[in-house]
Amino acid sequence: MAKLNINGTVRDVEVEPDTPLLWVIREQVGLTGTKYGCGIAQCGACSVHINDEVQRSCSIRVGDVQASDRIITIEGLSADASHPVQKAWAAIDVPQCGYCQSGQIMAAAALLKRMPKPTDKDIDEAMTNICRCGTYQRIRAAVHMAANGTSRT
């Protein structure tokens, strides 16, 4: 049994404590926007926010999460895809297949919370999630757009 605060709702889940948070979010809680890609914290498709910091949920045991920890998934980032990162992603048509993009958006949102005007170097260091479609150029442009509130030029 674990008590989890996900997207502002506290839930009790029946699960073995060594289950990765990713799979609890996907299977017990039923929020499937957070994705499995590698299971070893390499790809970042499973990125969520825990207390405002981006974390790779495939490598966090649910038993190590406290009820007081605030977990935000892609579904809870905004009510209507209105977060500046989501709006910039839409404006630039970042996604291709889209599978990694929940994680990319969560990583970008966490970066901007910590660092509202990141440089290219900051983006290089923070945006380490894998995108196999290769949307990196647009991700970089969209992070800048979200930071500056500017439109694409």
Partner: protein, 732 residues
């Protein structure tokens, strides 16, 4: 081109079509009535009036356009919808897309044509009939207005879904006209005159993708996200050595684990565990002791395969060739001779979404939910495995979390899920592979080596060229019928003579190109851009070596051989110009250039790189030129080119699947790294739309990425790179 708007099929469609209605005749029932299946691209057939197979109009004037090809990120849904909408003259702001199922396609005599999505064919081989589909619907809607108003159809105009009769001041919208239009006789598609692309207003424009919204908030449902009532989940391990099988397993060791429902032996080679959640299935499988009979291949290694290929470089028999003149003699008698041997490794696709399929076998029905590049192959696999006749099978396609050629014809994961589901009748079984299983049981990009030799005369002109590729054949694994009289043309993709959709862009007075088939036990298959990727590395890097030996500029040297290949040359020139070839560079930065053709399109690239004193590579900028004929969506073409750079650079920098003890060694992203954002160069895309043919977009430009960069490295270090990936190479 296949004729698709046939009289009979058109008659079938001339009625209002309500979704999910049992009316839709057995086997036609449209799937995907899943709770929470919200999507910008409708997965349930929408309510509305079907004007013809391609177009359904809603009362609010929204036009639902049917798409048969699979979307895996390449933008084919948006592009195909643009082409239909262009001819339909509907309101782009009210356009929606809907994907058809293979069961529907079969029941309607393949009215939507081929569903297979690969080889960069999505648009180029369906543009004609989808445009005719849109035009036919427009003609019917106009005819309906003409009959209602009793005016000649020639007096009508249409724009954005509104039909106007100016003389009488009347107008009506598609939503109001659709019911009457659906009752009319469809026009002969052959008689329809399509718009001149010069007049396009929607096609040819950088429209935003129509399938982005649900990729931003986590609501898009991929195959791994499918939820069905009563569903169980499965994890699987196939024998790690290809050709081996299951000897035994000790089910008692996992008895009593939470949630575990069943252990299933799958086709002699694999074991699956079924549980209430996937994580419980996966961990129980990890805990299950399995003894493998590894079979005859358990001692094969990368080194033994390399020896096998090397032997092929000198073998007396070849499995495919093209020649003109006498290359061997020309090289032997040349003033100067250049030789090199190149090699490229096995590569995995590494789609972000691992292989998966969800299967439900009921008493009289078989269903699969699957991310697939070939929904008809999925349907066939389902029917074949379950024994349920095709007419009682249906495949519901989810968007793909990456495809890259992995999710095409093989459908191995569907076959597995069917075998598991057979043991649990009536229960939906969702099979998901781990990343490790995905890396262990891919159909890999073929491994090969290439020996090249060239002869130069005293003035540095190329007099003879010989290339011999020794490596594995995709056809031998997947399509033996493609090997004719021992010759396998496919492995020489990009080196073919004209005509063809992957022609060598050089004319050489004495030319010999050979393929020697050397197959291994590792299964191989299409991989975004095969075999142009490997062949472009061989040909284009060697061209630079030869140009260097001739003392000539690599661009000038190529141009001299390309007079008979104007399209290749135009694209090379476009890349050179936009890429500032010959202009000064900052200290330490060097350029490389390459051109190649594949998938019906012409590509060229200029790369700017630097190599530090410690051998650290930095790719600063890449300019890619592409002539794909008609450019349906320039912004999405740019997106594909940007993605192709990342896909190509990942292969060049890191891509290598090693074999040890008969099995794949690199099972996750720790040892099979994928390039990340920090390594992405600035990419500039130059579209050179010659506008007189239809070429592919998803794959062709990958081929020039690696050779352009390797040639720039050669310029920087003075040393050629002949082995990939670069992670194994000391650059200085």
């Amino acid at each position: 081109m296949k004729k698709t708007i046939r009289g009979k099929a058109a008659k079938l469609s001339r009625r209002t079509f309500i979704v999910g209605s049992a009316a839709a005749s057995g086997g036609l029932a449209l799937g995907f009535n899943l709770p929470g299946f919200g999507s910008a691209v409708a997965q349930t057939a929408s309510e509305g009036t079907e004007v013809n197979a391609w177009v359904l109009v809603k009362p609010d004037d929204a036009c639902v356009i049917r798409v048969a090809r699979s979307e895996m990120g390449q933008g084919t849904i948006t592009g195909l919808v643009q082409l239909v909408a262009e001819e339909l003259e509907c309101d782009w702001k009210k356009v929606k897309a809907e994907q058809v199922t293979p069961g529907q396609n079969l029941a309607r005599k393949r009215v939507w044509g081929e569903m297979s999505t690969g080889g960069s064919r999505g648009i180029r081989t369906s543009e004609d009939y989808v445009r005719r589909g849109g035009a036919a619907a427009r003609i019917l809607l106009l005819q309906a207005a003409a009959e209602e108003w009793k005016v000649p159809v020639g007096e009508l105009t249409v724009a954005e879904g509104v039909v106007t009769h100016t003389p009488s001041g009347r107008s009506s919208s598609y939503g109001k006209l659709a019911a009457a239009a659906a009752k009319l006789e469809a026009p002969d598609p052959k008689a329809i005159k399509l718009k001149d692309p010069k007049d396009w207003k929607v096609a040819g424009k950088p429209m935003k993708r129509i399938d982005t919204a649900d990729k931003l908030d986590g609501s898009k449902i991929y195959g791994v996200d499918i939820k069905l009532p009563g569903m169980l989940c499965a994890a699987i391990k196939d024998c790690p050595v290809f050709g081996g099988k299951v000897a035994s397993y000790d089910e008692a060791k996992i008895a009593g684990r939470p949630g575990v429902r069943k252990v299933v032996k799958v086709k002699d080679t694999a074991v699956a565990v079924v549980a209430d959640t996937w994580w419980r299935a996966k961990t129980a499988l990890d805990a299950l002791p399995i003894v493998w009979d590894e079979g005859p291949n358990a001692s094969v290694s990368s080194a033994s395969i390399a020896e096998q290929l090397k032997e092929g470089l000198g073998a007396s028999v070849s499995n495919g060739d093209r020649q003109n003149g006498d290359a061997l003699k020309a090289i032997e008698t040349a003033a100067k001779k250049v030789e090199a041997v190149y090699s490229t490794p096995f590569l995995a696709h590494a789609t972000m979404e691992p292989m998966n399929a969800t299967v439900r076998l009921s008493a009289d029905k078989a269903e699969v939910w699957v991310p697939t590049q070939n929904a008809e192959a999925s349907l066939a696999a389902l029917s074949e495995g379950s024994g349920v006749p095709l007419a009682k099978c249906e495949a519901y396609r989810t968007d793909l979390g990456g495809g890259f050629g992995r999710r095409g014809g093989t459908q191995d994961y569907v076959h597995q899920a069917v075998e598991i589901a057979k043991e649990l009748p009536g229960i939906p079984i969702k099979l998901i592979w781990t990343r490790e299983e995905d890396q262990a049981h891919d159909f890999f990009r073929p491994i090969s080596q290439c020996r090249l030799a060239a002869g130069l005369d005293a003035s540095g002109n190329l007099t003879g060229l010989h290339a011999r590729v020794s490596g594995q054949s995709i056809n031998a694994t997947l399509n033996p019928a493609g090997i004719v009289n021992g010759k396998d043309r496919r492995q020489l993709q990009g080196l073919w003579a004209e005509p063809g959709d992957a022609q060598l862009g050089y004319t050489v007075p004495n030319l010999l190109i050979e393929y020697v088939m050397r197959n291994t036990h590792v299964p191989v298959g299409p991989w975004r851009g095969v075999n142009t990727n490997q062949n472009a590395v061989y040909m284009e890097c060697f061209m630079d070596e030869v140009a260097r030996a001739a003392g000539k500029d690599p661009l000038d040297f190529r141009r001299a051989l390309m007079g008979g290949h104007p399209k290749h040359l135009a694209v090379l020139n476009a890349a050179a110009e936009k890429g500032d070839w010959g202009k000064p560079l900052p200290a330490g930065v060097h350029r490389g250039i390459a051109q190649f053709m594949g998938y019906g399109s012409y590509s060229a690239a200029v790369a700017e790189v630097s190599v530090s004193d410690r051998g650290q590579l930095r790719v600063h900028r890449m300019v890619l030129a592409l002539d794909c004929g008609h450019a349906v969506n320039p912004d999405q073409i740019a997106a594909q080119v940007e993605g192709s750079v990342a896909y190509g650079l990942t292969a060049m920098l890191y891509g290598e699947c090693r074999v040890r003890d008969g099995r794949m060694v690199d099972l996750n992203f720790d040892t099979y790294p994928i390039m990340r954002l920090a390594e992405m160069p600035k990419v500039e895309t130059v579209i050179v739309p010659s506008g007189d043919f239809w070429g592919g977009v998803g794959e062709p430009t990958i081929s020039v990425v690696t050779p352009a960069v390797l040639n720039a490295i050669h310029a920087a270090t003075g040393k050629p790179v002949r082995q990939l990936p670069l992670k194994n190479v000391r650059l200085v």
